[in-house]
């Protein structure tokens, strides 16, 4: 698909797709994963490294969800502006 930053409908469609991805990511039970990897399941050097990596992974995925939602908002705002200006306005995503 050729991206057209002046096409409000395309921008909204992209925003919806990003929100779906964020939602799918946010629905992962990473808390449960971390809990299952704690000392009540296993312990030792390898388990500790796994636990530490899962903690980091949980944090990364949370921030990734936030980033995706922010991107979706920008796309939606860009679509609104494009609709008002007849497709001439443009919002540059940071």
């Amino acid at each position: 698909m050729t991206l057209n930053p002046a096409d409000p409908e395309q921008l909204r469609a992209r925003a919806r797709a990003v929100r779906r991805s964020a939602s799918a990511l946010g629905s992962l039970d990473t808390d449960g994963l971390v809990v299952r990897a704690d000392e009540s399941t296993w312990c030792g050097p390898t388990p500790q490294r796994c636990y530490d990596e899962l903690m980091a992974l949980r944090s990364t995925l949370r921030s990734t969800v936030d980033e995706m939602i922010e991107v979706a908002r920008h796309l939606e705002a860009q679509a609104d502006v494009a609709a008002q200006d007849g497709g001439t306005a443009r919002i540059v995503l940071s």
Partner: protein
């Protein structure tokens, strides 16, 4: 190679959850360039789960003995570093080798389970087998320090630790190590014991301290070092431990008393020395049974430091010092003769310590003896006992500088010319005391003479200094030869001393009465000479001193009267301050009591 442990069922749940998460991550697709960086992280997370951790878990759950770095093992519980895994193994966990770490890897977080496991394993196993290597001891100490710094972990440890028993066994191990000369192991064990006590102290009741003190005293002392007690609390604990050490309940002996060379007191005294308030409080308690100070160690240096810190005038009142010194010295006087080399406490001569101990409190053996509840005779007798030891006498004399400074900072005559009566009394008493006690001990003429000259110089210097404006400007070191020289000339001129006589030797050899008279002349003449020199007295002032023919009657009384007449003659020629200084000085060296004693 280290070890890991796992609960197979729970690990399977983890594997299932991980697989589910990885699959969901894999199902997320979005090629929008606006989230390309986010999607890179999603793919990375998916790979971490599916390509790294799921295979690891899979290898563990496959129970493949060969061909895997996670080979199943069975721990035998002889290494404290595997305490947690050993306990979990007992609960049905699987244990396997772990290529990612070493046994005793200090970077592995301490878990509550591990804290509980350490407590339980130490409490039920053969401790000597658990900690038979330096690595195990170092690991245990490090773990205990981490546990002690975390209240929750400390509670976990305390919940499973039979503290008193464990500390007792560790103390036995320490004693064995010390007895066999393994200083490294002894040090490590001492650190472990202290760390253990530190870790559980907040979670044990106050009654536990009482229980601890009822342990083998050596174990109690080692543990006490981890309890961070101070002041009265520390003093009370040390007193109880050492009293118990001296009096074993079954009449036998304690292990450390049999093997040495480090005894319970050697562990406790440094704690007290580092805490002056505790040292004083301990010595006050020990006054009821001074054997816990003098017969619990062979380390005379420790005893000396304890006594000096605990009776240091810088922080101990005269009353508190008396509470310690009186019973302690009386006990020593009655018991020290029974000390011998093959008993604990026989490794040093307690009498040698007493000179330094007595020096700052010398006034309380004489002029202020009643403050300590002694009679004058008792004070003299005790001081006689102290100086009976050559080393103690040397130390006492060497420490006189401290006493001299005390006198120097206490003016004899204040700015208004009033005499500080207490000073004169103290000085007079001190001279009498020296006359009665110390000179009996000093057989070396030169040293005896030196004592007297130093004392005289101190007195004269103090009087000079008491004028306050620095007009006299005396210093002890400058005064001694100057005063001796001047007095020598004057006494020779007066016919009291034969020509070419050695004044110092004369003083040393003089009978008591003559010495009192001579020292009084010495002091008054020295002061007058100084005042003439400084312009506070007219140049002809000494002309009024008639020292001719003093042999009619008791020499001390005649000299006193002559000196009094000389001073009275100066009354209208000098200030009230100067006059009162002379009166005080005469009273110091020839008080009415002193005259009555010798005449």
């Amino acid at each position: 190679m280290g070890f890991l442990g796992y609960d197979s069922e729970r690990l399977l749940w983890l594997s299932t959850a991980m697989r589910r998460t990885a699959d969901k991550l894999a199902a997320i697709h979005n090629d929008d360039p606006a989230i390309s960086a986010s999607m890179v992280r999603v793919r990375s997370a998916e790979r971490a789960l599916s390509a790294t951790w799921l295979p690891v878990i899979g290898r563990m759950l496959s129970c493949d003995v060969l061909g895997t770095e996670y080979a199943p093992v069975h721990l035998d519980g002889t290494d404290v570093r595997t305490a947690a895994l050993f306990m979990l193994q007992g609960y049905g966990w699987q244990v396997a080798t772990d290529p990612l770490g070493q046994v005793g890897d200090g970077t592995i977080r301490v878990t509550g389970a591990e804290a509980r496991a350490i407590g339980a394993l130490l409490s039920r196993s053969d401790i000597s087998e658990l900690i038979d290597t330096p690595e195990e001891l170092a690991w245990l100490r490090q773990r205990l320090l981490v546990i002690g710094a975390d209240p929750k972990l400390a509670a976990d440890l305390a919940a499973n630790l039979d503290t008193t028993w464990v500390l007792a066994v560790l103390a036995d191990e320490h004693l064995d190590a010390a007895a066999t000369g393994d200083r490294t192991r002894a040090t490590q064990l001492a650190e472990v014991i202290a760390a253990c006590a530190t870790a559980v102290r907040e979670h044990e009741t106050a009654a536990w301290v009482d229980e601890l003190i009822e342990l083998d005293p050596y174990a109690a002392a080692l543990a006490l070092r981890g309890l961070d007690l101070h002041g009265e609390e520390l003093a009370a604990a040390c007193d109880r431990i050492l009293a118990r050490w001296r009096n074993p309940p079954d009449g036998g002996g304690w292990p450390d008393a049999d093997v040495g060379p480090t005894y319970t007191a050697d562990l406790l005294f440094p704690l007290l020395i580092a805490d002056p308030d505790a040292a004083t409080a301990f010595l006050q308690r020990a006054a009821a049974h001074p054997d816990i100070v003098f017969q619990t160690t062979n380390d005379g240096v420790l005893v000396r430091e304890l006594l000096l810190v605990g009776t240091d005038p810088a922080h101990v009142s005269a009353r508190a010092a008396g509470d310690i010194m009186v019973p302690t010295l009386e006990w020593l006087r009655n018991n020290v003769a029974w000390f011998h080399n093959d008993m604990i406490g026989g490794g040093f001569d307690a009498r040698e310590l007493l000179g330094e101990l007595a020096a700052p409190w010398l006034l309380y053996f004489g002029p202020r003896v009643e403050d300590w509840g002694w009679s004058i005779t008792e004070g003299e007798e005790i001081l006689q006992f102290v100086v009976d030891d050559g080393r103690a006498l040397d130390d006492l004399l060497a420490a006189m500088e401290q006493w001299r400074i005390e006198l120097l900072v206490r003016p004899l005559v204040d700015a208004d010319g009033r005499i500080e009566a207490g000073w004169a009394t103290d000085m007079a008493g001190l001279f009498i005391l020296f006359d009665e006690v110390i000179t009996k001990e000093v057989t070396d003429d030169a040293r005896a003479a030196r004592i007297w000259v130093d004392l005289l110089a101190s007195a004269v210097t103090t009087v000079g200094t008491s004028f306050g404006d620095g007009a006299i400007g005396l210093t002890v070191s400058a005064t001694v030869p100057f005063v001796v020289s001047q007095v020598q000339d004057l006494l020779t001129d007066a016919g009291i001393l034969p020509p070419d006589a050695d004044l110092v030797a004369e003083l040393a050899h003089a009978e008591t009465a003559q010495r009192k008279a001579t020292t009084a002349i010495f002091a008054i003449v020295a002061l007058a000479a100084q005042l003439v020199d400084s312009g506070d007295l007219p140049e002809d002032a000494l002309d009024g001193l008639d020292l001719g023919n003093v042999s009619g009657g008791c020499e001390a009384r005649v000299v006193h009267d002559r000196l009094q007449a000389f001073i009275d003659g100066l009354r209208d020629r000098c200030s009230a301050t100067v006059y009162n200084a002379f009166v005080a000085l005469l009273s110091t060296f020839l008080s009415p009591d002193a005259i009555n004693d010798v005449c």
